[in-house]
Amino acid sequence: MSAVAPARAGSTMAQALNAALRDAMREDRSVHVLGEDVGPLGGVFRITDGLTAEFGPDRCLDTPLAEAGILGTAVGMAMYGLRPVVEMQFDAFAYPAMEQLVSHVAKMRNRTVGRLPLPITVRIPYGGGIGGVEHHSDSSEAYYTHTPGLHVVAPATVADAYGLLRASIASDDPVIFLEPKRLYWGRAEFDPVAPVEPIGRAVLRRTGTSAVLITYGPSLPVCLEAAEAAAAEGWDLAVLDLRSLVPFDDETVCRVVRSLGRAVVVHEASGFGGTGAEIAARVTERCFHHLAAPVLRVTGLDIPYPPPMLEHHHLPGVDRILDAVARLQWEDRG
């Protein structure tokens, strides 16, 4: 990723997220943003840029630096009828709030027999690939997907960033909103009023006839690039963007896998106990007789997130994806 991007038309994902927050706050006075540095600074990634100026320091609240306190305070605000949008500054900085998330945010609706739903959106700049030092590049989705009561959403396009964030804020359930940092500055044309698929629906980003790459978030562009490269080798790969891990779109995933018979799951989080393991198991349970090969996984290594000068070895790239595709038991290739 170049530090200085050439001026291009369209919006960045960062701008789309900012627009989603602003539009949600304009439409609904109960939407409040809180977090560390979200005020005049606009967040370290500028996602909350200008919100304090437009809506005041109460609705875009700079808090003390304490993630459990931020999320715990948001719980109380939601109990009183507000719709808090919490920013966790970086993925690994969200861990102090884990108890609030797991024991309260995820469970309050259940604990109160439906009487206290918590419409909280937790935005988490997520994943690697931007040269961050340690604790700034974790892929933490498996912690969240393993927690019943949370929705877990990961946009990969500018339009989805806007549409899914609006849907997350509008949701009466808590949503973990994973923002792929390395896609923040990618530009695309998007129309904020154009409908996007709702949370819980996967979208086929590229059709194909040979096999499907199943992915989400920061790995989507990598998979699309791999699919382009695969064409030169004679494979016509479909690319499926999950968009949401909870709820999981079994229906679309299974339809595509059954039609093609071969699937590779790609994500940058570590593989062991990861989301890819869940997806491979689900697909195998539901599509076994349609499969021509085992469902393979291409993931980050099972290591703590590496220092930036080594992260390219950790992150799944085009070659590792193509290697997996080559292992999909193509009888006619010997």
Partner: protein, 383 residues
Amino acid sequence: MTVLDHRHHTSVPGWLPGATAPRTDPAPLLPDASPVRVLGTPALEKYDPAVLRELYRRLVVGRRYNQQATVLTKQGRLAVYPASTGQEACQVAAAMALGAGDWLFPSYRDTLAVVSRGVDPLEALTLLRGNAHTGYDPRAVRTAPLCTPLATQAPHAVGLAHAARLAGDPVVALALLGDGGTSEGDFHEALNFAAVLQAPVVFLVQNNGYAISVPLTRQSAAPSLAHKAVGYGMPGRLVDGNDAPAVHAVLTEAVERARAGGGPTLVEALTYRLEAHTNADDATRYREDEEVTAWREHDPVLLMERHLRAAGLLDDELVRQAAEEAEALAARMRAEFHTDAELDPMSLFAHVYAEPTPQLREQAAQLAAELAAERAAEAGVRQ
């Protein structure tokens, strides 16, 4: 010059403006050296007799409630009960210090505070009985669910109080904690947020001497738990937690101060857990009989009775009424817990999300099929 070098030049006028001067005068925030007392002091004569009689009545009923709930655990009718026996003054005073529109954030030991707030005594025990996690409607009774993790309800109280103030509503939130809870990070974060936001919230720490088995000396090295308030920039208050009117007075003052925009207060109530941590705990392993016996002499129900009688504020009629009410409640608890509740297994899926995910729908269908098969098998056996 390095950054550290600058620290040696604090005498330079204008350097780091404001950072070296105290932002708050700590003196008014410090708790008094000895805990506030009303019983046995001239303050008792000036206290509203109606409040004193109501406190007495609730203490007597609360003691009986604690006893009956503990018995129900021995009969297997409650999964567990963390008794507040010995701490009843904190519990009933907490409820009575709040207005109807205020919110209570109880911990797992605060069932009696919830009951004293007006929640049905049996609904307040739903969690501990094992039927559901919460028996009452938190919004309707303005009482959060009993919180099992320690101190995690404290930031909720701050957030709710903050939101209420933004809405212009005169609502105060009261968070109940134990001495062990003050060691948790969420306690620290809640107090810090409350003070920074000047949220209308009151924290009541019921220091009952032990966090399960660990004594206060292994919990905190602070002069008192109330002293912790000063570091956050809020007043700390120390009160005799077995003196019901004293707890009521200190909490009422803190609640009204919060309501008037004065910000949060931390109150430490010195009390004692006369029973074990729960019915599953053996308190003889970590404390001496002499200590318990000494605290029995300082029992909140006995203290109240003794001092009200001495002041001529307690008559036999009130004693009889309170005892009758207590026995009626105990009888109702025995009667209603006599049978197993009818629970719907399909309710397991009802309140995970607003709309069940496709995955939960599948699992619900599977459980429904299992239940149908069980019913069919039972019907077959009966035939």
